[in-house]
Subunit: 223 residues, 2 copies
């Protein structure tokens, strides 16, 4: 009875790995039962012995992709010293992950999730992905008084939604047209949300912040 379980998990793993590879390489539109099964080395109908349907299979990838995203963000920001700059870098790395894998963005935010078994947890994981990945940075900035604790909830929420909208327009609507312009808009938005809530940055310093953001576009930084 234990072997059964092990073998079943192994089989599931083959299909999951194939689906993940395909999703990262070709995107959601290229995902199909026959495609996945072929890459896994089985017939298409075999998939249905281990998953209720295609929907269940692809949404089982979410957990792994979340871990991968988290790992990548941590790797990019590892050397940076803690503080607001690192927090911003983490948010940027989070965005870059989805730009690198648009198929994962689709899976996370646009593909309809039907009746996956653990639907609720998957939705929670997706919705809080940005917050939980940046949790340490938020906590550091808050505990050292770099950010006002009573406004962090609002800032998180603003960032989550703004970044989601920004990514959606960039990935699905080619707006803005280039990655450089995307980064520019990204910086404006992030700085407007974070810097404007900085303890010291009231009336006087605000406009400067935003203008600086517009100027501080680094070219050739990524992709």
């Amino acid at each position: 009875m234990k072997n059964k379980e092990i073998q079943e998990q192994r089989m599931k793993g083959y299909f999951l790995e194939a689906a993940k590879e395909l999703l990262k390489a070709e995107g959601l539109k290229s995902i199909s039962v026959r495609n996945i099964a072929e890459r896994a080395g089985y017939s298409y109908a075999t998939l249905y012995s281990y998953f209720r349907d295609l929907n269940e299979l692809i949404f089982l990838c979410v957990q792994d992709f979340y871990e991968e995203c988290k790992e990548q963000v941590q790797q990019v920001t590892r050397k940076k010293e803690k503080g607001i700059k690192k927090l911003k870098a983490a948010i940027r790395a989070y965005a870059d992950f989805f730009i690198q894998y648009p198929g994962i963005f689709d899976l996370f935010f646009t593909e309809t999730i039907g009746n996956a078994p653990n639907k609720k947890q998957v939705l929670e994981l997706i919705q809080h992905s940005l917050d939980s990945i940046c949790e340490e940075d938020w906590h550091y900035c808050m505990s050292w008084g770099l950010l006002p604790g009573d406004r962090i909830g609002l800032m998180k929420s603003q960032l989550r939604h703004s970044l989601l909208g920004l990514l959606l327009l960039y990935l699905n609507r080619s707006t803005p047209a280039s990655y450089v312009d995307f980064v520019s808009r990204f910086n404006v938005l992030v700085n407007a949300i974070i810097d404007d809530h900085l303890p010291g940055a009231m009336a006087a310093g605000r406009q400067t912040t935003v203008n600086n953001a517009l100027i501080s576009v680094k070219i050739g930084n990524n992709k």
Copy 2:
């Protein structure tokens, strides 16, 4: 030669009308060539005499839906007196339009637009839809000094992206779960963006604004 043109436009109209009805009633997932053609009273292949493919047809609906959205926003906010409250009401009505017709949201923001003939204009229309629909209100608030003119660009951009992210999570990820909660979050976000930039509302008044937004959730206002 003129009759030819008229008849062709008429035929296109039948298919477009059918597609629009279907999209509003059933959503994008129920859109199919055979479905549209049946509703239009023709065979499925006839559609290809008037449109290059399905993609062209459905993205030709965008213009009409934009007008309809604009009309609905104006109708809802017509009686309100000009000012910031009316501006907020317009933004809210814009959001409500997409909540009423999730299929139109999908069409505008998530469906992949392939090679529609006027692709560029369609993308422009979609991207600036919120701004252009609320243009009068922005202009009024600015010219009467209710909002600082040098920050309106930033505010528009923040609103556009935040609202898009909010709608995406609500419509495609059931987050938040209820419409009441959606309106609550909507108010928090909109107020945080608009009120915090108000000329008079600096350091002192800000937190109050946000908290009020959390409280001022109107129940049973819509849908």
